[in-house]
Assembly symmetry: C2
Homo-oligomer: 323 residues x 2
Protein backbone atom coordinates (compact mmCIF):
# COMPACT_ATOMS: atom_id res chain seq x y z
CA UNK A 1 0.00 0.00 0.00
CA UNK A 2 1.58 3.29 -1.15
CA UNK A 3 0.78 6.74 0.21
CA UNK A 4 1.44 9.60 -2.18
CA UNK A 5 1.11 13.38 -1.68
CA UNK A 6 0.01 15.48 -4.63
CA UNK A 7 0.45 19.22 -5.11
CA UNK A 8 -2.66 19.73 -7.23
CA UNK A 9 -2.16 23.38 -8.18
CA UNK A 10 1.27 24.28 -9.53
CA UNK A 11 1.19 23.15 -13.18
CA UNK A 12 0.32 25.22 -16.24
CA UNK A 13 -2.98 23.39 -16.56
CA UNK A 14 -3.99 23.89 -12.92
CA UNK A 15 -5.95 21.37 -10.88
CA UNK A 16 -8.02 20.10 -13.81
CA UNK A 17 -5.31 17.90 -15.34
CA UNK A 18 -4.36 16.59 -11.89
CA UNK A 19 -7.93 15.69 -10.92
CA UNK A 20 -8.48 13.86 -14.19
CA UNK A 21 -5.19 11.99 -13.87
CA UNK A 22 -5.98 10.94 -10.30
CA UNK A 23 -9.42 9.66 -11.24
CA UNK A 24 -7.98 7.57 -14.06
CA UNK A 25 -5.21 6.31 -11.86
CA UNK A 26 -7.50 5.28 -9.00
CA UNK A 27 -9.68 3.27 -11.37
CA UNK A 28 -6.70 1.09 -12.22
CA UNK A 29 -4.82 1.20 -8.90
CA UNK A 30 -7.36 1.39 -6.10
CA UNK A 31 -4.65 0.27 -3.65
CA UNK A 32 -2.90 3.68 -3.70
CA UNK A 33 -3.73 6.26 -1.04
CA UNK A 34 -3.54 9.89 -2.14
CA UNK A 35 -3.37 13.04 -0.10
CA UNK A 36 -4.19 15.89 -2.46
CA UNK A 37 -3.26 19.45 -1.51
CA UNK A 38 -4.94 22.44 -3.16
CA UNK A 39 -7.99 24.66 -3.31
CA UNK A 40 -10.63 22.32 -1.97
CA UNK A 41 -13.41 23.79 -4.13
CA UNK A 42 -11.47 22.62 -7.20
CA UNK A 43 -11.04 19.11 -5.83
CA UNK A 44 -14.65 18.18 -5.10
CA UNK A 45 -14.60 15.37 -7.67
CA UNK A 46 -11.97 13.60 -5.57
CA UNK A 47 -13.98 13.69 -2.34
CA UNK A 48 -14.36 10.25 -0.83
CA UNK A 49 -11.59 8.90 -3.06
CA UNK A 50 -8.62 10.85 -1.71
CA UNK A 51 -7.72 12.74 1.42
CA UNK A 52 -8.06 16.45 0.62
CA UNK A 53 -5.91 19.09 2.34
CA UNK A 54 -7.02 22.65 1.67
CA UNK A 55 -4.37 25.20 0.65
CA UNK A 56 -5.35 28.70 -0.47
CA UNK A 57 -2.21 29.83 -2.28
CA UNK A 58 -0.66 28.77 -5.58
CA UNK A 59 3.08 29.11 -6.09
CA UNK A 60 3.85 31.01 -9.33
CA UNK A 61 5.79 29.18 -12.07
CA UNK A 62 8.93 31.31 -11.62
CA UNK A 63 9.04 31.11 -7.81
CA UNK A 64 12.29 30.15 -6.11
CA UNK A 65 12.74 28.35 -2.79
CA UNK A 66 12.64 31.50 -0.66
CA UNK A 67 9.28 32.49 -2.09
CA UNK A 68 7.88 28.99 -1.58
CA UNK A 69 9.19 28.83 2.01
CA UNK A 70 7.36 32.08 2.73
CA UNK A 71 4.08 30.84 1.19
CA UNK A 72 3.11 28.61 4.09
CA UNK A 73 -0.46 28.28 2.83
CA UNK A 74 0.56 27.25 -0.68
CA UNK A 75 -0.23 23.78 -1.99
CA UNK A 76 3.45 23.20 -2.82
CA UNK A 77 4.80 24.12 0.61
CA UNK A 78 2.08 22.18 2.40
CA UNK A 79 2.69 19.10 0.24
CA UNK A 80 6.44 19.09 0.94
CA UNK A 81 5.81 19.83 4.61
CA UNK A 82 3.47 16.82 4.91
CA UNK A 83 6.20 14.69 3.35
CA UNK A 84 8.69 15.95 5.93
CA UNK A 85 6.39 14.95 8.77
CA UNK A 86 6.64 11.37 7.60
CA UNK A 87 4.34 8.52 6.85
CA UNK A 88 4.26 9.15 3.09
CA UNK A 89 6.08 7.41 0.25
CA UNK A 90 6.37 10.20 -2.31
CA UNK A 91 5.47 13.80 -3.14
CA UNK A 92 4.65 15.00 -6.66
CA UNK A 93 4.30 18.48 -8.14
CA UNK A 94 4.01 19.99 -11.61
CA UNK A 95 4.81 23.47 -10.26
CA UNK A 96 7.94 25.65 -10.44
CA UNK A 97 10.92 23.32 -10.89
CA UNK A 98 13.37 25.50 -8.99
CA UNK A 99 10.89 26.22 -6.21
CA UNK A 100 9.82 22.62 -5.75
CA UNK A 101 13.28 21.06 -5.89
CA UNK A 102 14.88 23.59 -3.56
CA UNK A 103 12.01 23.46 -1.08
CA UNK A 104 12.15 19.67 -1.09
CA UNK A 105 15.91 19.80 -0.54
CA UNK A 106 15.61 22.32 2.31
CA UNK A 107 12.79 20.41 4.03
CA UNK A 108 13.78 16.79 3.42
CA UNK A 109 17.59 17.22 3.32
CA UNK A 110 20.10 15.26 1.30
CA UNK A 111 20.81 11.65 2.16
CA UNK A 112 23.91 11.70 4.45
CA UNK A 113 27.03 11.76 2.27
CA UNK A 114 25.27 13.07 -0.85
CA UNK A 115 26.92 16.32 -1.98
CA UNK A 116 24.17 17.42 -4.35
CA UNK A 117 20.90 15.91 -5.43
CA UNK A 118 20.27 15.35 -9.13
CA UNK A 119 17.17 15.36 -11.28
CA UNK A 120 16.99 12.08 -13.14
CA UNK A 121 14.77 10.71 -15.85
CA UNK A 122 14.92 7.69 -18.11
CA UNK A 123 14.98 8.51 -21.85
CA UNK A 124 13.70 6.25 -24.62
CA UNK A 125 16.30 4.66 -26.89
CA UNK A 126 16.54 3.07 -30.30
CA UNK A 127 16.19 -0.36 -28.72
CA UNK A 128 12.58 -1.09 -27.92
CA UNK A 129 11.86 -1.20 -24.20
CA UNK A 130 15.38 -0.10 -23.29
CA UNK A 131 15.79 3.18 -21.44
CA UNK A 132 18.84 5.25 -20.57
CA UNK A 133 19.17 7.14 -17.28
CA UNK A 134 20.44 10.71 -17.72
CA UNK A 135 21.36 12.88 -14.73
CA UNK A 136 21.45 15.73 -13.73
CA UNK A 137 18.84 17.12 -16.12
CA UNK A 138 18.36 20.40 -14.32
CA UNK A 139 18.48 20.47 -10.52
CA UNK A 140 21.77 22.43 -10.58
CA UNK A 141 23.27 25.12 -12.81
CA UNK A 142 26.79 23.82 -12.31
CA UNK A 143 28.41 20.82 -10.65
CA UNK A 144 31.81 19.94 -9.24
CA UNK A 145 33.78 16.89 -10.44
CA UNK A 146 33.01 15.19 -7.10
CA UNK A 147 29.29 15.74 -7.65
CA UNK A 148 29.58 14.35 -11.17
CA UNK A 149 31.23 11.28 -9.68
CA UNK A 150 28.40 10.77 -7.19
CA UNK A 151 25.84 11.21 -9.96
CA UNK A 152 27.37 8.11 -11.50
CA UNK A 153 26.86 6.17 -8.26
CA UNK A 154 23.28 7.33 -7.88
CA UNK A 155 22.47 6.78 -11.55
CA UNK A 156 23.81 3.25 -11.32
CA UNK A 157 21.65 2.51 -8.28
CA UNK A 158 18.65 3.93 -10.13
CA UNK A 159 19.30 1.82 -13.23
CA UNK A 160 19.74 -1.32 -11.11
CA UNK A 161 16.82 -0.85 -8.77
CA UNK A 162 14.24 1.04 -10.78
CA UNK A 163 14.91 -0.21 -14.31
CA UNK A 164 16.30 -3.62 -13.32
CA UNK A 165 19.51 -3.29 -15.35
CA UNK A 166 22.22 -5.72 -14.31
CA UNK A 167 25.71 -4.22 -13.95
CA UNK A 168 24.82 -0.97 -15.70
CA UNK A 169 27.53 0.90 -17.57
CA UNK A 170 28.14 4.60 -16.89
CA UNK A 171 29.27 7.28 -19.35
CA UNK A 172 30.12 10.96 -19.05
CA UNK A 173 28.33 13.19 -21.56
CA UNK A 174 31.01 15.01 -23.53
CA UNK A 175 31.91 16.76 -26.78
CA UNK A 176 33.91 13.76 -27.97
CA UNK A 177 34.52 10.15 -27.04
CA UNK A 178 38.26 10.51 -26.39
CA UNK A 179 39.59 10.78 -22.85
CA UNK A 180 40.87 14.35 -23.24
CA UNK A 181 37.49 15.75 -24.28
CA UNK A 182 35.07 17.59 -22.03
CA UNK A 183 34.30 20.68 -20.01
CA UNK A 184 36.87 21.51 -17.29
CA UNK A 185 34.64 19.82 -14.68
CA UNK A 186 33.85 16.72 -16.72
CA UNK A 187 37.55 16.18 -17.47
CA UNK A 188 38.33 16.16 -13.75
CA UNK A 189 35.36 13.88 -13.13
CA UNK A 190 36.77 11.49 -15.75
CA UNK A 191 39.96 11.29 -13.69
CA UNK A 192 38.00 10.51 -10.52
CA UNK A 193 36.10 7.70 -12.24
CA UNK A 194 39.37 6.21 -13.43
CA UNK A 195 41.29 6.64 -10.18
CA UNK A 196 38.52 5.06 -8.16
CA UNK A 197 38.04 2.27 -10.68
CA UNK A 198 34.32 2.92 -10.94
CA UNK A 199 32.68 -0.38 -11.90
CA UNK A 200 31.14 -0.15 -15.36
CA UNK A 201 32.68 3.24 -16.23
CA UNK A 202 33.06 3.40 -20.01
CA UNK A 203 34.42 6.91 -20.54
CA UNK A 204 32.91 9.74 -22.58
CA UNK A 205 29.90 9.58 -24.84
CA UNK A 206 28.83 12.11 -27.47
CA UNK A 207 25.28 13.46 -27.30
CA UNK A 208 24.41 11.82 -30.63
CA UNK A 209 24.90 8.32 -29.19
CA UNK A 210 23.06 8.77 -25.86
CA UNK A 211 19.78 7.40 -27.25
CA UNK A 212 21.39 4.57 -29.22
CA UNK A 213 20.63 1.98 -26.55
CA UNK A 214 24.27 1.27 -25.72
CA UNK A 215 24.48 3.41 -22.57
CA UNK A 216 22.67 2.58 -19.33
CA UNK A 217 23.60 5.72 -17.36
CA UNK A 218 24.84 9.07 -18.73
CA UNK A 219 26.19 11.64 -16.27
CA UNK A 220 26.30 15.39 -16.90
CA UNK A 221 26.05 18.68 -15.05
CA UNK A 222 22.56 20.12 -14.57
CA UNK A 223 22.94 22.95 -17.06
CA UNK A 224 24.15 20.76 -19.90
CA UNK A 225 21.69 17.99 -19.02
CA UNK A 226 18.83 20.43 -19.21
CA UNK A 227 19.95 21.62 -22.66
CA UNK A 228 20.14 17.98 -23.78
CA UNK A 229 16.70 17.11 -22.37
CA UNK A 230 14.98 20.10 -23.93
CA UNK A 231 16.89 19.86 -27.19
CA UNK A 232 15.70 16.27 -27.57
CA UNK A 233 12.13 17.28 -26.74
CA UNK A 234 12.23 20.15 -29.18
CA UNK A 235 13.45 18.07 -32.13
CA UNK A 236 11.05 15.23 -31.39
CA UNK A 237 8.16 17.70 -31.38
CA UNK A 238 9.38 19.42 -34.53
CA UNK A 239 9.70 16.15 -36.43
CA UNK A 240 6.32 14.88 -35.24
CA UNK A 241 4.77 18.05 -36.61
CA UNK A 242 6.53 17.58 -39.95
CA UNK A 243 5.32 13.98 -40.21
CA UNK A 244 1.77 15.08 -39.52
CA UNK A 245 2.04 17.69 -42.27
CA UNK A 246 3.36 15.12 -44.72
CA UNK A 247 0.28 13.00 -44.17
CA UNK A 248 -2.20 15.87 -44.35
CA UNK A 249 -1.39 16.93 -47.91
CA UNK A 250 -4.17 15.22 -49.86
CA UNK A 251 -6.57 12.30 -49.92
CA UNK A 252 -3.85 9.86 -50.99
CA UNK A 253 -1.50 10.79 -48.22
CA UNK A 254 -4.38 10.57 -45.77
CA UNK A 255 -5.09 7.06 -47.01
CA UNK A 256 -1.38 6.32 -46.70
CA UNK A 257 -1.60 7.29 -43.07
CA UNK A 258 -4.15 4.56 -42.40
CA UNK A 259 -1.54 1.99 -43.35
CA UNK A 260 1.28 3.24 -41.16
CA UNK A 261 -0.89 4.54 -38.37
CA UNK A 262 0.18 1.86 -35.91
CA UNK A 263 3.89 2.23 -36.56
CA UNK A 264 3.66 6.00 -36.27
CA UNK A 265 1.79 5.72 -33.00
CA UNK A 266 4.47 3.46 -31.60
CA UNK A 267 7.12 5.94 -32.60
CA UNK A 268 5.25 8.83 -31.10
CA UNK A 269 4.83 6.96 -27.84
CA UNK A 270 8.50 6.09 -27.73
CA UNK A 271 9.59 9.68 -28.24
CA UNK A 272 6.83 11.44 -26.33
CA UNK A 273 8.20 12.79 -23.07
CA UNK A 274 4.66 12.78 -21.71
CA UNK A 275 4.95 9.02 -21.58
CA UNK A 276 7.78 9.19 -19.05
CA UNK A 277 5.95 11.94 -17.20
CA UNK A 278 8.09 12.74 -14.23
CA UNK A 279 11.68 13.18 -13.17
CA UNK A 280 12.91 12.17 -9.73
CA UNK A 281 15.11 14.28 -7.49
CA UNK A 282 17.67 11.67 -6.55
CA UNK A 283 19.77 11.90 -3.39
CA UNK A 284 17.34 13.37 -0.90
CA UNK A 285 15.39 11.72 1.91
CA UNK A 286 12.23 10.80 0.11
CA UNK A 287 10.79 10.15 -3.32
CA UNK A 288 10.31 13.59 -4.87
CA UNK A 289 8.86 13.58 -8.38
CA UNK A 290 8.71 16.64 -10.58
CA UNK A 291 6.01 16.36 -13.24
CA UNK A 292 6.35 18.51 -16.35
CA UNK A 293 5.10 22.06 -15.83
CA UNK A 294 2.91 21.70 -18.88
CA UNK A 295 1.52 18.31 -17.78
CA UNK A 296 -1.85 17.36 -19.15
CA UNK A 297 -3.88 14.55 -17.54
CA UNK A 298 -1.99 11.86 -19.48
CA UNK A 299 1.40 13.23 -18.58
CA UNK A 300 0.49 13.66 -14.92
CA UNK A 301 -0.84 10.12 -14.90
CA UNK A 302 2.59 8.92 -16.00
CA UNK A 303 4.18 10.95 -13.22
CA UNK A 304 1.92 9.17 -10.72
CA UNK A 305 3.03 5.84 -12.12
CA UNK A 306 6.68 6.87 -11.88
CA UNK A 307 6.25 7.96 -8.26
CA UNK A 308 4.44 4.76 -7.36
CA UNK A 309 7.12 2.59 -8.91
CA UNK A 310 9.90 4.57 -7.26
CA UNK A 311 8.26 4.22 -3.88
CA UNK A 312 7.94 0.46 -4.44
CA UNK A 313 11.62 0.03 -5.34
CA UNK A 314 12.80 1.59 -2.10
CA UNK A 315 15.32 3.61 -4.11
CA UNK A 316 15.94 6.10 -1.29
CA UNK A 317 17.22 3.40 1.05
CA UNK A 318 19.32 1.91 -1.73
CA UNK A 319 21.00 5.30 -2.15
CA UNK A 320 21.53 5.54 1.62
CA UNK A 321 23.27 2.18 1.62
CA UNK A 322 25.18 2.79 -1.62
CA UNK A 323 26.72 6.20 -0.92
Amino acid sequence: MSKLIIDAMGGDNGSKAVVEALQNYLEKHPDTLFTVVGKKEELTELEGKCEIVDARDVVPMEAGALEVMRMKDSSMFKAVDLMRNGGYDAVISAGSTGGFLSTATLCLKNVPGVLRSALVSPFPTKIKGKQVVVLDIGASNENTPEQLYQFGLMGKLYAENVLGVKEPNVYLLSNGAEEGKGSPESKLAYKLYKEKNFPGFKGNIEARYVLNGEADVVVTDGFTGNIFLKGVEGVAKLMSGMIKDAFKKNLWTKLGYLHVHKGMKEMKETMDYKGTGGAMLLGINGVVVKAHGSSDARSFYSALRVAYRLAQTDIVNKIKEGI
Copy 2:
Protein backbone atom coordinates in the same frame (compact mmCIF):
# COMPACT_ATOMS: atom_id res chain seq x y z
CA MET B 1 35.94 33.61 -59.35
CA SER B 2 36.50 31.77 -56.06
CA LYS B 3 39.62 29.84 -55.12
CA LEU B 4 39.12 27.10 -52.55
CA ILE B 5 41.63 24.78 -50.89
CA ILE B 6 40.54 21.25 -50.06
CA ASP B 7 42.12 18.83 -47.60
CA ALA B 8 41.14 15.66 -49.43
CA MET B 9 42.27 13.10 -46.87
CA GLY B 10 41.10 13.68 -43.29
CA GLY B 11 37.50 12.44 -43.25
CA ASP B 12 36.26 9.01 -42.22
CA ASN B 13 35.51 8.17 -45.84
CA GLY B 14 38.93 9.25 -47.11
CA SER B 15 39.55 10.84 -50.47
CA LYS B 16 36.78 8.96 -52.27
CA ALA B 17 33.89 11.07 -50.93
CA VAL B 18 35.86 14.26 -51.57
CA VAL B 19 36.74 13.36 -55.17
CA GLU B 20 33.14 12.50 -55.96
CA ALA B 21 31.85 15.69 -54.34
CA LEU B 22 34.34 17.82 -56.27
CA GLN B 23 33.42 16.23 -59.58
CA ASN B 24 29.75 16.87 -58.97
CA TYR B 25 30.42 20.40 -57.83
CA LEU B 26 32.56 21.28 -60.83
CA GLU B 27 29.88 20.12 -63.22
CA LYS B 28 27.52 22.71 -61.79
CA HIS B 29 30.00 25.44 -60.88
CA PRO B 30 32.82 25.40 -63.39
CA ASP B 31 33.80 28.92 -62.28
CA THR B 32 35.33 27.69 -59.00
CA LEU B 33 39.06 26.97 -58.82
CA PHE B 34 40.08 24.17 -56.48
CA THR B 35 43.47 23.34 -55.05
CA VAL B 36 43.21 19.81 -53.71
CA VAL B 37 45.78 18.54 -51.20
CA GLY B 38 46.31 14.82 -50.63
CA LYS B 39 47.88 11.62 -51.88
CA LYS B 40 48.12 12.35 -55.58
CA GLU B 41 47.58 8.73 -56.63
CA GLU B 42 44.11 8.92 -55.04
CA LEU B 43 43.27 12.13 -56.86
CA THR B 44 43.92 11.12 -60.48
CA GLU B 45 40.28 11.59 -61.43
CA LEU B 46 40.63 15.28 -60.66
CA GLU B 47 43.66 15.82 -62.90
CA GLY B 48 43.09 18.60 -65.37
CA LYS B 49 40.07 19.84 -63.42
CA CYS B 50 41.77 20.96 -60.20
CA GLU B 51 45.24 21.92 -59.06
CA ILE B 52 46.66 18.93 -57.16
CA VAL B 53 49.17 19.33 -54.34
CA ASP B 54 50.73 16.08 -53.20
CA ALA B 55 50.87 15.38 -49.46
CA ARG B 56 52.00 12.02 -48.14
CA ASP B 57 50.63 12.07 -44.59
CA VAL B 58 47.10 11.85 -43.26
CA VAL B 59 46.27 13.43 -39.90
CA PRO B 60 44.53 10.91 -37.61
CA MET B 61 40.99 11.71 -36.47
CA GLU B 62 42.01 12.33 -32.84
CA ALA B 63 45.02 14.54 -33.62
CA GLY B 64 45.37 17.86 -31.82
CA ALA B 65 47.05 21.02 -33.09
CA LEU B 66 50.55 20.07 -31.90
CA GLU B 67 50.44 16.83 -33.83
CA VAL B 68 49.19 18.56 -36.97
CA MET B 69 51.86 21.29 -36.70
CA ARG B 70 54.49 18.56 -36.58
CA MET B 71 53.05 16.73 -39.61
CA LYS B 72 54.37 19.18 -42.19
CA ASP B 73 53.72 16.75 -45.04
CA SER B 74 50.11 16.10 -44.04
CA SER B 75 47.26 17.19 -46.30
CA MET B 76 45.71 19.17 -43.45
CA PHE B 77 48.81 21.14 -42.54
CA LYS B 78 49.64 21.84 -46.18
CA ALA B 79 46.10 23.00 -46.91
CA VAL B 80 46.08 25.46 -43.99
CA ASP B 81 49.60 26.58 -44.84
CA LEU B 82 48.57 27.37 -48.42
CA MET B 83 45.70 29.42 -47.04
CA ARG B 84 48.12 31.37 -44.84
CA ASN B 85 50.26 32.25 -47.84
CA GLY B 86 47.31 34.07 -49.32
CA GLY B 87 45.49 34.21 -52.60
CA TYR B 88 42.77 31.78 -51.55
CA ASP B 89 39.18 32.38 -50.43
CA ALA B 90 38.55 29.40 -48.19
CA VAL B 91 39.98 26.15 -46.81
CA ILE B 92 37.87 23.05 -46.13
CA SER B 93 38.61 19.84 -44.23
CA ALA B 94 36.63 16.87 -42.95
CA GLY B 95 39.52 15.81 -40.71
CA SER B 96 40.05 16.04 -36.94
CA THR B 97 37.94 18.95 -35.67
CA GLY B 98 40.29 19.92 -32.88
CA GLY B 99 43.38 19.55 -35.07
CA PHE B 100 41.97 21.52 -37.98
CA LEU B 101 40.45 24.36 -35.98
CA SER B 102 43.49 24.86 -33.75
CA THR B 103 45.91 24.67 -36.66
CA ALA B 104 43.82 27.17 -38.60
CA THR B 105 43.74 29.47 -35.57
CA LEU B 106 47.52 29.19 -35.02
CA CYS B 107 48.33 29.78 -38.69
CA LEU B 108 45.70 32.31 -39.71
CA LYS B 109 45.25 34.09 -36.35
CA ASN B 110 42.11 35.67 -34.94
CA VAL B 111 40.74 38.84 -36.48
CA PRO B 112 42.15 41.73 -34.37
CA GLY B 113 39.88 42.26 -31.36
CA VAL B 114 38.32 38.79 -31.46
CA LEU B 115 38.91 37.02 -28.13
CA ARG B 116 38.01 33.53 -29.32
CA SER B 117 36.81 32.13 -32.60
CA ALA B 118 33.55 30.16 -32.67
CA LEU B 119 32.28 27.30 -34.79
CA VAL B 120 28.99 28.31 -36.32
CA SER B 121 26.37 26.51 -38.33
CA PRO B 122 22.85 27.32 -39.38
CA PHE B 123 20.21 24.83 -38.15
CA PRO B 124 16.90 24.08 -39.86
CA THR B 125 13.75 25.33 -38.12
CA LYS B 126 10.04 24.64 -38.10
CA ILE B 127 9.52 27.49 -40.55
CA LYS B 128 10.34 26.39 -44.05
CA GLY B 129 13.45 28.06 -45.45
CA LYS B 130 14.24 29.78 -42.16
CA GLN B 131 17.49 28.90 -40.43
CA VAL B 132 18.85 29.72 -36.99
CA VAL B 133 22.53 30.45 -36.37
CA VAL B 134 23.92 28.64 -33.32
CA LEU B 135 27.42 29.34 -32.00
CA ASP B 136 29.80 28.11 -30.58
CA ILE B 137 29.02 24.50 -31.50
CA GLY B 138 32.37 23.11 -30.48
CA ALA B 139 35.50 25.16 -31.12
CA SER B 140 36.02 25.66 -27.35
CA ASN B 141 35.42 23.57 -24.24
CA GLU B 142 34.54 26.61 -22.15
CA ASN B 143 34.00 30.31 -22.75
CA THR B 144 34.16 33.50 -20.72
CA PRO B 145 31.19 35.90 -20.50
CA GLU B 146 33.11 38.35 -22.72
CA GLN B 147 33.56 35.67 -25.36
CA LEU B 148 29.85 34.85 -25.18
CA TYR B 149 29.14 38.51 -25.76
CA GLN B 150 31.35 38.60 -28.85
CA PHE B 151 29.73 35.43 -30.17
CA GLY B 152 26.51 37.44 -30.27
CA LEU B 153 28.19 40.13 -32.37
CA MET B 154 29.71 37.61 -34.77
CA GLY B 155 26.51 35.56 -34.99
CA LYS B 156 24.56 38.69 -35.83
CA LEU B 157 27.00 39.59 -38.61
CA TYR B 158 26.74 36.03 -39.95
CA ALA B 159 22.93 36.11 -39.93
CA GLU B 160 22.88 39.49 -41.67
CA ASN B 161 25.53 38.83 -44.28
CA VAL B 162 25.32 35.11 -44.98
CA LEU B 163 21.63 34.40 -44.39
CA GLY B 164 20.35 37.87 -45.29
CA VAL B 165 18.36 38.35 -42.06
CA LYS B 166 17.44 41.96 -41.37
CA GLU B 167 18.01 43.11 -37.77
CA PRO B 168 18.49 39.61 -36.40
CA ASN B 169 17.55 38.90 -32.81
CA VAL B 170 20.04 37.23 -30.45
CA TYR B 171 19.30 34.82 -27.58
CA LEU B 172 21.45 33.08 -24.98
CA LEU B 173 20.88 29.32 -24.74
CA SER B 174 19.82 28.58 -21.17
CA ASN B 175 17.99 26.22 -18.86
CA GLY B 176 15.05 28.59 -18.59
CA ALA B 177 13.74 31.75 -20.21
CA GLU B 178 13.87 33.93 -17.07
CA GLU B 179 16.73 36.38 -16.54
CA GLY B 180 18.15 34.58 -13.49
CA LYS B 181 18.60 31.26 -15.32
CA GLY B 182 21.84 29.95 -16.76
CA SER B 183 25.32 28.64 -16.15
CA PRO B 184 27.60 30.95 -14.13
CA GLU B 185 29.17 32.22 -17.40
CA SER B 186 25.92 32.69 -19.29
CA LYS B 187 24.42 34.66 -16.40
CA LEU B 188 27.34 37.09 -16.51
CA ALA B 189 27.08 37.26 -20.30
CA TYR B 190 23.39 38.17 -19.90
CA LYS B 191 24.47 41.16 -17.79
CA LEU B 192 26.94 42.27 -20.46
CA TYR B 193 24.30 42.11 -23.19
CA LYS B 194 21.97 44.22 -21.07
CA GLU B 195 24.59 46.74 -19.90
CA LYS B 196 25.82 47.31 -23.44
CA ASN B 197 22.29 47.50 -24.81
CA PHE B 198 23.02 44.90 -27.48
CA PRO B 199 20.69 45.58 -30.40
CA GLY B 200 18.22 42.73 -30.84
CA PHE B 201 19.12 40.95 -27.59
CA LYS B 202 16.04 39.04 -26.44
CA GLY B 203 17.29 37.26 -23.33
CA ASN B 204 17.43 33.53 -22.64
CA ILE B 205 15.97 30.75 -24.75
CA GLU B 206 15.36 27.13 -23.73
CA ALA B 207 16.80 24.41 -25.95
CA ARG B 208 13.33 23.20 -26.88
CA TYR B 209 12.50 26.47 -28.65
CA VAL B 210 15.76 26.95 -30.58
CA LEU B 211 14.40 25.29 -33.73
CA ASN B 212 10.96 26.94 -33.53
CA GLY B 213 11.87 29.59 -36.07
CA GLU B 214 11.57 32.51 -33.64
CA ALA B 215 15.30 32.95 -32.96
CA ASP B 216 17.81 34.20 -35.54
CA VAL B 217 20.98 33.75 -33.48
CA VAL B 218 21.50 31.57 -30.39
CA VAL B 219 24.71 31.97 -28.39
CA THR B 220 26.23 29.30 -26.16
CA ASP B 221 29.60 28.04 -24.98
CA GLY B 222 31.34 25.46 -27.15
CA PHE B 223 30.79 22.51 -24.83
CA THR B 224 27.06 23.07 -24.44
CA GLY B 225 26.66 23.97 -28.11
CA ASN B 226 28.29 20.72 -29.11
CA ILE B 227 25.94 18.74 -26.88
CA PHE B 228 23.00 20.59 -28.44
CA LEU B 229 24.23 19.99 -32.01
CA LYS B 230 24.85 16.30 -31.52
CA GLY B 231 21.74 15.76 -29.41
CA VAL B 232 19.65 17.20 -32.24
CA GLU B 233 21.45 15.05 -34.80
CA GLY B 234 21.00 11.94 -32.69
CA VAL B 235 17.26 12.36 -32.22
CA ALA B 236 16.70 13.25 -35.86
CA LYS B 237 18.51 10.10 -36.90
CA LEU B 238 16.68 7.97 -34.34
CA MET B 239 13.28 9.21 -35.47
CA SER B 240 14.11 8.81 -39.15
CA GLY B 241 14.98 5.20 -38.44
CA MET B 242 11.70 4.67 -36.60
CA ILE B 243 9.74 6.17 -39.47
CA LYS B 244 11.50 3.88 -41.92
CA ASP B 245 10.63 0.87 -39.76
CA ALA B 246 6.99 1.94 -39.59
CA PHE B 247 6.81 1.87 -43.39
CA LYS B 248 8.63 -1.43 -43.79
CA LYS B 249 6.16 -3.57 -41.87
CA ASN B 250 4.09 -5.06 -44.70
CA LEU B 251 2.86 -4.56 -48.24
CA TRP B 252 0.17 -2.10 -47.14
CA THR B 253 2.56 0.13 -45.25
CA LYS B 254 4.94 0.00 -48.20
CA LEU B 255 2.11 1.18 -50.44
CA GLY B 256 1.34 3.87 -47.88
CA TYR B 257 4.89 5.09 -48.23
CA LEU B 258 4.37 5.78 -51.91
CA HIS B 259 1.74 8.34 -51.00
CA VAL B 260 3.75 10.27 -48.43
CA HIS B 261 7.12 9.76 -50.02
CA LYS B 262 7.48 13.39 -51.07
CA GLY B 263 6.54 14.84 -47.71
CA MET B 264 8.89 12.46 -45.92
CA LYS B 265 11.70 13.37 -48.25
CA GLU B 266 11.16 17.06 -47.54
CA MET B 267 11.26 16.38 -43.83
CA LYS B 268 14.38 14.32 -44.11
CA GLU B 269 16.10 17.03 -46.08
CA THR B 270 15.09 19.66 -43.56
CA MET B 271 16.45 17.68 -40.62
CA ASP B 272 19.43 16.04 -42.31
CA TYR B 273 22.62 17.69 -41.12
CA LYS B 274 24.29 16.48 -44.30
CA GLY B 275 22.28 19.10 -46.11
CA THR B 276 24.02 21.91 -44.22
CA GLY B 277 27.33 20.15 -44.60
CA GLY B 278 29.88 22.40 -43.02
CA ALA B 279 30.42 24.65 -40.06
CA MET B 280 32.50 27.81 -40.29
CA LEU B 281 35.14 28.87 -37.80
CA LEU B 282 34.08 32.47 -37.30
CA GLY B 283 36.47 35.15 -36.09
CA ILE B 284 39.71 34.19 -37.78
CA ASN B 285 41.42 35.67 -40.83
CA GLY B 286 39.94 33.54 -43.55
CA VAL B 287 37.00 31.34 -44.38
CA VAL B 288 37.67 28.05 -42.62
CA VAL B 289 35.01 25.39 -43.12
CA LYS B 290 34.91 22.16 -41.15
CA ALA B 291 32.99 19.43 -42.97
CA HIS B 292 31.54 16.59 -40.90
CA GLY B 293 34.11 13.91 -40.11
CA SER B 294 31.73 11.30 -41.47
CA SER B 295 31.01 13.28 -44.66
CA ASP B 296 29.91 11.30 -47.66
CA ALA B 297 30.02 12.83 -51.14
CA ARG B 298 26.67 14.57 -50.66
CA SER B 299 27.63 16.05 -47.34
CA PHE B 300 31.02 17.22 -48.59
CA TYR B 301 29.30 18.76 -51.61
CA SER B 302 27.20 20.84 -49.22
CA ALA B 303 30.33 21.90 -47.37
CA LEU B 304 31.78 23.11 -50.69
CA ARG B 305 28.62 25.11 -51.31
CA VAL B 306 28.81 26.61 -47.81
CA ALA B 307 32.46 27.60 -48.31
CA TYR B 308 31.72 29.12 -51.69
CA ARG B 309 28.85 31.18 -50.35
CA LEU B 310 30.83 32.32 -47.32
CA ALA B 311 33.70 33.44 -49.55
CA GLN B 312 31.22 35.38 -51.72
CA THR B 313 29.66 37.21 -48.77
CA ASP B 314 33.00 38.59 -47.60
CA ILE B 315 32.05 37.61 -44.05
CA VAL B 316 35.63 37.86 -42.76
CA ASN B 317 35.87 41.55 -43.64
CA LYS B 318 32.44 42.18 -42.17
CA ILE B 319 33.68 40.70 -38.89
CA LYS B 320 36.83 42.85 -39.08
CA GLU B 321 34.69 45.96 -39.45
CA GLY B 322 32.07 44.88 -36.92
CA ILE B 323 34.27 43.91 -33.96
